[in-house]
Amino acid sequence: MPDEFPQDDYCNAWQNQPVENITMSLEEIRRRAGKFQRRIWWRNAREYAAIVVVVIVFGLYMKWFPNPIMRAGSVITIAGALYVAYQLHRRVSSETAPAAAEFEQCLGFHRHALERQRDALEDIWTWYLGPFIPGLVVFSAGMAIAAPIPFRHRVLATAIMLAAIGVVFWLVAQMNRRAARKLQTKIDQLKALEQ
């Protein structure tokens, strides 16, 4: 393989095409850097909005429902939501680390971005869905105990509610797993190109 490629017509045509000579002053760059930070802030705020809703709703449940088991379930759910918020923060921080690793080799940049997405999708049980389960189970048990209906009906209602939550969680996990598999195929293709 030759070390140098000849400067043929295509290269000359490409390199000599007219350009506008667009430049940016440092003031403009700093202004856009500030705008960039604000955009990141709002993106993170959207990520946390769902967590805030969960905390508010279960905070109100603690006030509305006197049953201690339901209250305990609310506290555990809120704790789970805060843990998810922490995990989101951790993942978002690593994504927006200095210059977002923009200086990596292009192939590695693509691969690492895909690997981060794949890991987040594969680990969904441990960092996103799982932390909500204990609180929801305890809260449902509290509802079953507190409900003024026959015992058999309470058990049935709780079972149906937990099953519904389980199905939704399972579907979410399956969708994420499928997406992770697709990403893995792309990652393998990129790895092959690096070897």
């Binding site: 490629f5 295509y10 290269c11 350009v19 667009i22 960039f36 923009e102 200086f103 292009c106 690096e194």
Partner: protein, 175 residues
């Protein structure tokens, strides 16, 4: 915000590679307004990145890595479609045919068609062809993209074949 060396490095890079960055933005974005946005994103990313420049690679390699990665992220963020509708170099070749040979090959038209061709490629192939057109050697292309030497050689061979078929034949036919 921004150390003197960061500002200085950015100034040097912008002065030296400003035109190349414009060409790169043109290869990624067809729409003039969005292209200008992309170019500004690239300049911003470049300035930010120079806070971390450690000299492990040449400034040129650094500038191109930052520019390509920013352009790819910009495209993904805007379209959310990844490489959909884009083709690889391998897929470009069979599409060549009479239409290409029949077209006149004035310099401007050739440049437009070259830009169209680049814009239609998947990001990695686009990075290789752009680096090739900017006159880089195989080692530099490998350093920027992370591709193995063999892969660079294969892609360059394909690029040359595609360009020769698409433009040289067209020019001969027109002449």
């Amino acid at each position: 915000m921004g150390s003197p060396s960061q500002d200085e490095r950015y100034h040097q890079a912008a002065a030296e590679y400003g035109a190349a960055l414009e060409r790169l933005a043109r290869a990624y974005e067809f729409d003039p307004d969005r292209r200008r946005d992309l170019l500004q994103e690239i300049h911003l990313a470049l300035w930010r990145s120079f806070a971390l420049f450690d000299g492990r690679c040449s400034p040129r390699t650094w500038v191109y890595r930052v520019a390509h990665n920013t352009a790819v992220s910009y495209g993904i963020g805007r379209r959310r479609s990844g490489d959909r509708n884009l083709v690889s170099l391998e897929e470009v070749e069979p599409t060549l045919g009479d239409r290409d040979a029949d077209e006149t090959a004035s310099r401007r038209q050739a440049l437009e068609r070259l830009t169209e061709l680049i814009q239609s490629l998947k990001s990695l192939d686009r990075q290789v062809i752009l680096s090739y057109l900017e006159g880089m050697d195989a080692a530099q292309i490998g350093e920027i993209t992370g591709l193995a030497a063999g892969s660079v050689a294969t892609k360059i061979h394909r690029i040359k074949t595609v360009l020769a078929k698409r433009f040289t034949e067209g020019a001969n036919h027109a002449g």
